[in-house]
């Protein structure tokens, strides 16, 4: 099974994402950007779901660090954000995310489709 790193500080968001993904993917959960970077370097996932508003180092910072890394730079990363509005898609893409998903996740197919597109499965 392909592996997805879920970086999200809110426990019920993690529960929801886990429930959506656990049948099809192996999940690795992280609560902070620092933990996520260490974990991702240690065991590279196939895709990263990254909450934008993390405590301490926020999602955009984590992404910048990932993109600068020679090995991890090409990892597909999907932003999870509570603040998605019209025009934000371009901003997130410009920032280097491959896609974004709005929170709350009301339609799990949106998330699954976005992941399928990036993993080609």
């Amino acid at each position: 099974m392909k592996k997805i790193a879920v970086v999200e500080d809110n426990p019920d968001n993690r529960l929801l994402v886990q429930a959506i993904l656990e049948d099809d993917y192996e999940i690795e959960e992280y609560e902070t950007g620092t933990e996520a970077l260490a974990g991702i370097r240690h065991e590279r996932p196939d895709l990263v779901l990254l909450d934008i508003s993390l405590p301490g180092m926020d999602g955009t910072e984590v992404l910048e660090i990932l993109r600068r890394d020679a090995e991890l730079g090409s990892l597909p990363v999907i932003a999870l954000t509570a603040h998605a509005m019209a025009g934000d898609r371009e901003n997130y893409l410009a920032a280097g995310f491959n896609d974004y998903i709005s929170k709350p996740i009301v339609d799990e197919d949106l998330l699954l489709d976005a992941i399928h597109r990036l993993l080609g499965d």
Binding site: D12, N13, S53, A82, K103, P104
Partner: protein
């Protein structure tokens, strides 16, 4: 600054330059303290704590379809962040105003030959 000049003119009509100086003096004395008090709250992270708590609450409420709670929390988060930005602007705004008022007072003193 035109509005300041107009206001000071009205005050001068009420109580002369003496009143103008007193009011400017009183303002300069207290305004810095008040800005400081607001900045202290900002620096303490209290507004950040409200915003973060509201953000998480909004997120969780949204997952369970609690739309009203989600919206309320979202509103609180947004406005807390706005307040942070506004309070951060206070010192510069005060410095600009203070400089102008001080300039007004000292030029008055020069004019009156002190």
């Amino acid at each position: 600054m035109r509005e300041i000049d107009e206001a000071l003119e009205r005050i001068a009509k009420l109580g002369g330059e003496g009143l103008v100086h007193k009011m400017i003096g009183a303002f300069l004395e207290t305004a810095e303290r008040r800005v400081g008090a607001a900045r202290e709250v900002l620096d303490s992270g209290a507004l950040d704590a409200v915003a973060r708590a509201a953000h998480s609450l909004s997120s969780s409420a949204g997952n369970l379809g609690a739309a009203r709670l989600m919206e309320l929390a979202r509103e609180i988060e947004g406005r807390s962040r706005e307040i942070e930005t506004l309070v951060a602007e206070l010192p510069e705004a005060l410095a600009e105003t203070g400089a102008y008022l001080k300039g007004r007072v000292s030029s008055d003193e020069e004019d009156s030959g002190r």
